[in-house]
Amino acid sequence: MSLATRAPRVIGNPEAINGAGFITLDSRSGLRPTGNDKNYRSLVGLRRMRLMSFAVVIALLAGGGAFAMDFKPYGRGAFGQLTKAHAGRPLIVHFWSVTCPPCLVELPQWAKIAAEKKGSDIVFVNTDSDDDRARAEARIEKAGLSGADHYGFADDFVEKLYFEADSAWRGELPFTALVAPDGGVVTVTGAVDDPLIVDWLKKHVAK
């Protein structure tokens, strides 16, 4: 049986809802809520272009052997241990998952930052379970991050792991904790080009 063999079109009552407006659906075109799609696309384009302009190809540092990567276990207490171990130096802890498409899109940009910002320590934490670690390794290799410092979630008590990095974090990904040399922590949900990350890097990490 194939999907989408029909193209049902559904027109709703055009009354505004909470100011959100009614949305006309069409099985092919998807949602097109009132108009500025074009602007949005060009905005996204420019943003991505800015990101991609960084993204030079980085040779894979490790070979393609299966399970070659060492994911250090990240359990409860890990965040504090990391900040302690890296005290006095700018530390970036980046959390990501193979089941998070935005995470995978931006991994190569993290490879670029890792290569450029030698003055900082960058630690990557894969939040998947052990079952998904082989995929995580493949993604790391693809992103050119084989040589980086990698941890993997190793505790079911994820609320605790989130809380230790940021008491307001509920598990959204990608998620980045920026730890200043004095221990001050700034956290960012989402894209690597977030102004908070850019400013923090400028402030704490020379090229």
Partner: protein, 429 residues
């Protein structure tokens, strides 16, 4: 310049869709190992709260309950690479030996966070289980269903809902006439776009129905595009027996807010509206889907989590006109305690909402009850707590009563009846 931007866009988009549909993967691994405290970063404590590896409910990371007509409580769950169903005749206190439904050769069974195996019980006693696998060599999911017509002693060989495309986050509902509706997030259009080098945000929202007890599903079709691919869908039956689904949508500007859609009886059309305009413009996976309930009067109730520009935290809104409009979102839960994973259920004139809170040490399930279709709610009351890892809370209604279903590492599986009157709902724990 423009061409370059487009090329980069296409590259970025193809990277995005080659990802699996996002799962709340942040949840945990299962294998056991020896706990070590206060180890240095190079050997951080490994699995201090590891689930067991036996084929029993208490060893699973997630458990979704269903009541059968005979009063037995069924749960579907997975341990390792196997999927099981087990029944309880004493409301979850003890379970029969589980029935193995499937064991997969490679890959994973989705059983963390928002992605979880499920089971539904049909009027004639048939049990229908559903689960999603992600094989190692494949970056997309496949939803499988399996049926039991002998009271859960055996299940049919699992069959894929769709042979290709990539699907996850199914939601299955059965109406009084026995028609089964399925909704799920579907990557077919996203994969097509990738193959053509086009950008495509998120997944499609697809639906189907079955009139033969889940043996076959008809009318499989993607009716809406660009759902956020990282969160569960939630479904409830409207007064007329057709389902309404709620999910997180990727709207213009990468805004990840919520939509609801009522299906036509033949699942061929969906009338969708936006629940709120939280304006959570974020290029991320929230891993936090909404929940919908519909009460006997036909009013729709939705709860969700957002970190939008306009609202942050847990919110509730209701629609008295079958989704045409929603009330102003009302905040609940304690942000200072990382309130999350809200869900709600309607049971005989009462409406319940529960959610998870965490203060750094204790995870609690807070509850509020409404007896006036969501206009007012009882004071929040903690109905359960744990000091270690736990599943998201699930709510289930049966014979006019509502129950909290919660699986925790320390306490195992719990089914707790929720109060029926405001006085006991408001009483402290």
């Amino acid at each position: 310049m423009k061409r370059l931007a487009l090329a980069l866009l296409a590259f970025a988009a193809s990277s995005a869709v080659s990802a699996e549909q996002g799962a709340p993967s942040a949840d945990a691994p299962k294998d056991a190992s020896t706990p070590t405290q206060s180890a240095p970063p190079a050997a951080m404590s490994h699995h201090p709260a590891a689930a067991c590896a036996e084929a029993k409910v208490d060893c699973a990371a997630t458990a979704v309950p269903a009541f059968a007509k005979d009063g037995r409580l069924w749960v579907a769950f997975s341990v390792g690479k196997s999927l099981y169903a087990a029944a309880s005749s004493d409301n979850g206190a003890t379970f029969s030996a589980p029935t193995a439904i499937a064991t997969i050769g490679d890959g994973v069974i989705d059983a963390h966070g928002d992605a979880r195996p499920k089971i539904v019980a049909l009027k004639d006693g048939t049990l229908l289980a559903s689960y999603t696998t992600r094989p190692d060599k494949q970056m997309i999911g496949t939803i499988f269903t399996a049926r039991s017509t002998d009271g859960g002693k055996t299940f049919s060989a699992p069959q894929a809902l769709l042979a290709e495309g990539g699907q996850r986050f199914d939601s299955i509902l059965v109406n009084r006439k026995g028609r089964i509706y399925a909704g799920w997030l579907d990557k077919t259009h996203a994969l097509k776009a990738k193959a053509e080098g086009r950008e495509f945000l998120g997944s499609g929202v697809a639906f189907a129905y079955s009139d033969d007890g889940g043996k076959t599903f008809k009318g499989k079709s993607i009716l809406i595009d660009h759902a956020c691919e990282c969160c569960r869908m939630s479904g409830a039956l409207d007064k007329d027996g057709t389902p309404v689904f709620a999910w997180r949508q990727v709207l213009d500007g990468n805004v990840r807010d919520h939509m609801v859609a009522k299906l036509s009886a033949d699942a061929a059309q969906a009338t969708a509206t936006r629940v709120s305009d939280d304006d959570w413009a974020i290029n991320s996976c929230p891993h936090h889907g909404p929940s919908i309930a519909i009460d006997a009067a036909g009013d729709w109730h939705v709860v969700w989590f957002t970190k939008g520009k306009k609202r942050q935290g847990l919110y509730y809104a209701r629609s008295l006109d079958a989704g045409k409009s929603f009330s102003e979102p009302e905040k609940f839960g304690d942000d200072a305690r990382a309130a999350g994973h809200p869900t709600l259920v309607a049971a005989k004139g009462r409406l319940y909402r529960v959610w998870k809170e965490f203060d750094g040490a204790t995870t609690t399930i807070a509850m509020q009850m409404s007896r006036d279709n969501g206009k007012s709610w009882s004071a929040p009351r903690v109905v359960a707590q744990t000091l270690d890892a736990s599943d998201h809370p699930e709510l289930i209604a049966h014979n006019g009563a509502a129950y909290l279903s919660w699986l925790t590492h320390k306490e195992g599986y719990r089914l707790m009846p929720l109060p029926r009157d405001e006085k006991s709902a408001a009483a402290p724990q």
